[in-house]
Amino acid sequence: MSVVEVKGVSKTFGRGGTVALQGIDLEIEAGEFVSLIGPSGCGKSTLLRIIGDLVKPSGGQIVVNGKSAHQARLDRDYGIVFQDPVLYDWRTVAKNIALPLEMLGWNRRKRAKRVQELMHLVELSGFDTHHPWQLSGGMQQRVSIARALSFSPALLLMDEPFGALDEMTRERMNMELLRIWQETGSTVVFVTHSIAEAVFLSTRAVVMSSRPGRIAEIVRIDLPQPRTAETREEPRYFELVTAVREALARTGADEIIEELVAGGEL
């Protein structure tokens, strides 16, 4: 069963302005880990926000869990993680994680129990009463992930969640995310601009081109599960990294040709 269906979606910003997305068709099955990768300005974050009904598409249709994206948002069918952890400084770590549960009307005891489970899941046990600014960037992002998972949504939308982290922390967070993905069995849509990250994490990498944002190619990542640190050393991993890089390069080539045409050189 597909969790997300994107049919002919387009998005234009402003009055007759920039075309951010054009003719996007994408189906995401339950349990998939799909990365959206592409040059900046290809509309990958916009596409993610359209799936989450945070941005309205200019055309086309979105179905999430068999209903409209709008209804899915109202039903709290997805959890979202941004590049910035977006934690509230006035809340402790535990209360930040419990925020969606409070809004869903869970009682205090149920909330506390769930928060403990999640703190354990993201390996932050013992940090309940800390405030977000007392944590490192990687720890803050783990709180943000725990918050997104708190109400067990079947769909997780992630917008470059590890983009601001250093390489070491990012690789560790990738491992943790895979572990969480496998433990929870959720479907993940993951925006990134890192080829290595997209290949290592995904079951499919959706390569997008810019101006206008379009799906250029979809690379199936057939690396065996579960993935480990050794996965990054397998020949197949390098082949897939090369495949995604070349797909991206082809979108870049288009761009260069367009610019040459515009410049009157071709």
Binding site: R73, L74, F82, V86, D89, R91, P100, M103, S136, M139
Partner: protein, 275 residues
Amino acid sequence: MTAPTAVEPIPRGALARGVGRRVGDWLPALLVFAAGIAAWQWIFSPLAGRFLLPKPSAIGTALWDNRHVLWTAGWFTFKEAVGGFVIGSGAGIAAALVLARWRRLGGAVMPYAIAANAVPIIAFAPIMNAWFGVLNPHSKMAIAAVLCFFPVLVNTLRGLTSVRPESLELMRSYAASEVDVFRRVRIPSALPFLFTGLKVATVLAMIGAIVGDYFGGSIQALGVQIENSISLFDFPLGWAAIVVASAFGLAFYVAIGIAERLATAWHPSHARRTE
């Protein structure tokens, strides 16, 4: 997983210990204060003449001799100031909430609020006296309230509307109601801004109440006491009344400062990193 590094939360009693540790830091300021009083007592006051600039010792004597009258007068005017502060700040906060909720209205109204903020509103003092009665404390409250209104409005509104877009997107992803967005995001993140406005307002409220008294008021009011002593050439008493006014103003400011610490105890600026 590496050992997590984190900053400890402030333990209880840390505030008191912090103050204790910083007594040494205050020494230079105390020395400057003592030197200033000494220079006033033995240099400036003799130069200016005791009428125009009474010695601190004379002011101290006047303060002690008239302590009951001055305390009563100070308390009377302080109540005027607090009343005006509550009304003006309350209205400012309410207006900020309305303008933050209906942004288009805010866009239409704010230029005037900002312009009004630059008007020397104290000039309206005689008009307020005329409206509400010279002897009625309500006229002084009205002046204080009008003075408090704009800084509180402008600061609170800035706080309510300077929420990061992702914070709002997150609330939207939870299908949060407008009330939820205000209660859980906008209002908490506006608190530091609100208190900045309130602290300015404490000072303005005292100014409003005292200046209102200058244009006529109850004989019990501090501003009237200052006026009368000066016109009777009792300068030490006038200065003593000013000392009382300053003390009440300072206490008011500190009280709001403490309320701020309590309300925004979570704020990073209030904790000292222990790493």
